[in-house]
């Protein structure tokens, strides 16, 4: 009796918790909403998003929605809440609704063969956005619209050359690197691209003296940088794999009595609003953009795919690099 009562209360508790968790995502909870002008000839696009886990991701979602509206497409939008099974069932429902094109950002890399084969059998082309998948059959998707993280690393190294030149830096360059979450694709590839350029062009004068993960968070960046400044007080450049870690590191640099952007030159990746704020204050020297606003590009690709044109296997997101003098002008246009 007692056992059952306990079980019941536990069940109610868990249900309540589930309700709370669902609240958090209620904005887009699994529902499929339709937007667009609904004209008879309009292209119908089924889009399955990963979830809404970060500011970058919500900017990505907004961009896709507004670009679809602008292009006059009917958009079937579905939020997978970070679960592959939600995404697979969303894609199945797109197939049964006979949408013209399916686009999605895969939650994970593997396990898509079955559902993608169903889409192929129904002759619906599939476009990946932001992230890629591993499949046995390359014909299962048409193209990937997304960023090239390795190239972001290369661009970071290239822009560091400019930053050093502008600052009139002489002598050895001692770099501290704040890595992203260990094992995450952007962390691995941003480090790889940077290293490539460094070893090719600056084998003698540049050196990464310390490198450690800051988990892509401000608190991580702050704590790791505080330790770096103790063990290697002669660091003069910081390369952060995202803006948030750079923002955290800036606070530690200031606490150590040094000037971020002057005593220690800072290059970071992403281009979120707070990053631009820090850059306009002169605390970050350059930002390599990783653009979530790929909506317009996606719509272009969808149009081409629908018309039966051939497109490249990987359409890289349009991204720019920003130096300090561009920060003030760019700041008001940053949406995320």
């Amino acid at each position: 009796m007692l056992n059952r009562r306990n079980f019941l209360t536990a069940a109610i508790g868990v249900a309540a918790a589930g309700g709370l968790a669902a609240c958090a995502k209620k904005e887009e909870s699994g529902s499929t909403s339709t937007s667009g002008d609904g004209g008879s000839k309009a292209i119908t696009l089924g889009f399955s998003q990963v979830g809404s886990e970060s500011g970058w991701r919500s900017a990505n979602t907004d961009s896709v929605k507004s670009a679809a509206k602008e292009a006059g497409y009917r958009l079937q939008f579905s939020d997978a809440q970070q679960k592959q099974e939600n995404q697979i069932s969303a894609i199945r429902s797109f197939i049964s609704q006979k949408v013209d094109v399916i686009a999605f950002s895969p939650v994970v890399v593997t396990g898509w063969d079955a559902v993608l084969k169903e889409a192929k059998a129904a002759k619906i082309p599939v476009v990946l956005t932001d992230r890629s998948v591993e499949t046995s059959d390359e014909s299962l998707y048409v193209t990937l619209v997304g960023s090239d993280f390795t190239d972001e690393g290369r661009r970071a190294a290239k822009i560091l050359e400019k930053v050093l030149e502008k600052a009139g830096h002489k002598g050895p360059v001692k770099i501290a690197q704040l890595e992203g979450t260990t094992g995450a694709a952007p962390a691995i590839e941003r480090a790889k691209g940077f290293k490539e350029v460094m070893e090719a062009d600056h084998k003698d004068d540049w050196k990464v003296v310390v490198s450690q993960t800051g988990d892509f968070t401000r608190a991580g960046g702050k704590q790791v940088m505080a330790a770096f400044l103790q063990s290697n007080p002669d660091i003069n450049v910081l390369y952060a794999h995202n803006d948030d870690m750079a923002i955290g590191a800036i606070q530690s640099i200031e606490a150590a009595g040094k000037k971020p952007g002057k005593d220690i030159l800072i290059v970071s990746v992403d281009g979120v609003k707070d990053g631009f704020v820090a850059m306009s204050e002169g605390k970050i020297n350059a930002i390599v953009e990783c653009n979530p606003l790929l909506g317009p590009q996606l719509m272009e690709v969808v149009q081409k795919v629908k018309n039966g044109e051939t497109v490249e296997r990987w359409i890289k997101t349009k991204e720019s690099d920003f130096m300090q003098d561009q920060a003030k002008d760019a700041l008001p246009t940053r949406k995320y």
Binding site: N6, L20, T182, T213, Q223, A227, Q230
Partner: protein, 371 residues
């Protein structure tokens, strides 16, 4: 003779091994950071590795102190990380809505709101555990899972950046040249120690942890004690949440206090508090939390490659836990001392072993009744 007996008394002190590990960890840093122990003045405040360790370790100390009392009652609180996120999110989102973010009244109100939310979480945990008889690990799992969702709901999934000088003080500011968080930690630890060791409260907590049913039968209101410790634990987590968000002047619903519950439990265990409940050591917990923070700093300074971070951490934690185990110490040290003084070495393992079994036995009784 007197020196050896003194040495024995010292090594048998419950804080000896945690402190020894802490000292060794600190010394390991010296070859890599020559001026590791040096502290200098920068911009009107003290600056150095030791200051950083205490500053970044403050939230963990607070959470671990709260966790100690919960564990002493034989419970566990997995929700502290989520409470950290909720408190920071509420306080920062309130401040970001103010016209003047640096107005003291607004900041105090924001902090009050955050702490109130933390207390509500604690009451909920205590209610489920003490009134409903749900296993603590399940009861607190609810807020651990759902709480982060609530925090993201408050922040709208974004990182809220604020610019408020008074708010910055609590977790990132300095007072009398020292990080302000040190004073907060000192006050909380002092109040806890006085309440639990100068009044009967600590004894009551331990008796509830030893045997809740027997405590109730002798007239201790064990339910009330349990609810109280969960509220206290959540309040500590709430203060830690204010500190963490204040430290970076931003609330990150996704990452603030992520996995801090596990670090806190580890700190409690390193400090010599038994997970079975019934006895606790606040001093041990503070040392345990400092060990964990020093370990983290050590990893950053000695240049352990990122991929092997966790392996390094695991090895150190395993060593610390083995050193903490009386059985392991008895085996290793009696084997070494065996030739010199077999009687002494052989004597020590017999003492702690039965204590361990009785603790397990007394704990087994209430557990069976609940499940």
């Amino acid at each position: 003779m007197t020196t050896t007996s003194r040495w024995r008394a010292l090594t048998h002190h419950h804080l000896f091994w945690p402190v020894a590990v802490l000292v060794v960890l600190l010394l390991v840093n010296v070859p890599f950071t020559p001026d590791f122990f040096s502290i200098k003045m920068t911009d009107g405040h003290l600056y150095g590795s030791l200051v950083s360790i205490v500053l970044f370790g403050s939230p963990l100390i607070l959470v671990a102190v709260g966790m100690t009392l919960v564990i002493a009652t034989g419970g566990i609180d997995l929700s502290v990380g989520a409470v950290v996120a909720i408190t920071g999110a509420l306080a920062c989102s309130y401040i970001s809505d103010q016209a003047d973010q640096s107005a003291l009244a607004g900041v105090l109100l924001a902090m009050g709101l955050g702490l109130l939310a933390a207390v509500v979480c604690g009451l909920w945990n205590g209610f489920l555990v003490a009134r409903m008889g749900i296993q603590p690990i399940i009861a607190t799992l609810i807020i651990m899972v759902a709480g982060r969702g609530v925090a993201q709901l408050i922040t709208d999934g974004q990182i809220i950046t604020i610019n408020s000088e008074p708010y910055k003080l609590i977790g990132g500011g300095y007072w009398l040249t020292l990080p302000f968080s040190i004073f907060v930690v000192a006050v909380v630890v002092a109040v806890t120690v006085v309440l639990t060791r100068r009044t009967a409260l600590g004894l009551l907590v331990e008796s509830v942890g030893g045997n809740a049913e027997a405590s109730r039968l002798v007239g201790i209101r064990s339910r009330r004690i349990k609810i109280m410790v969960y509220v206290f634990c959540a309040l500590c987590a709430g203060i830690a949440g204010l500190m963490i968000s204040s430290n970076t002047s931003a609330a990150d619903g996704n990452n603030a206090g992520l996995w801090i519950e596990l670090d806190a439990i580890l700190a409690v265990v390193i400090g010599g508090t038994s997970l079975l409940g019934g006895r606790f050591s606040i001093g041990g917990t503070v040392v345990g939390a400092l060990v964990i923070q020093t370990l983290t700093t050590t990893i950053y300074t000695i240049g352990v490659p990122t991929q092997t971070n966790l392996v390094f951490k695991a090895v150190v934690v395993i060593i610390v836990c083995l050193l903490q185990s009386p059985k392991f110490r008895a085996k290793v040290f009696s084997a070494r001392l065996g030739a010199k003084s077999g009687a002494q070495g052989g004597g020590s393992p017999s003492a702690p072993a039965p204590a361990g079994t009785t603790a397990a036995a007394t704990e087994a009784a209430p557990k069976m009744e609940v499940s």
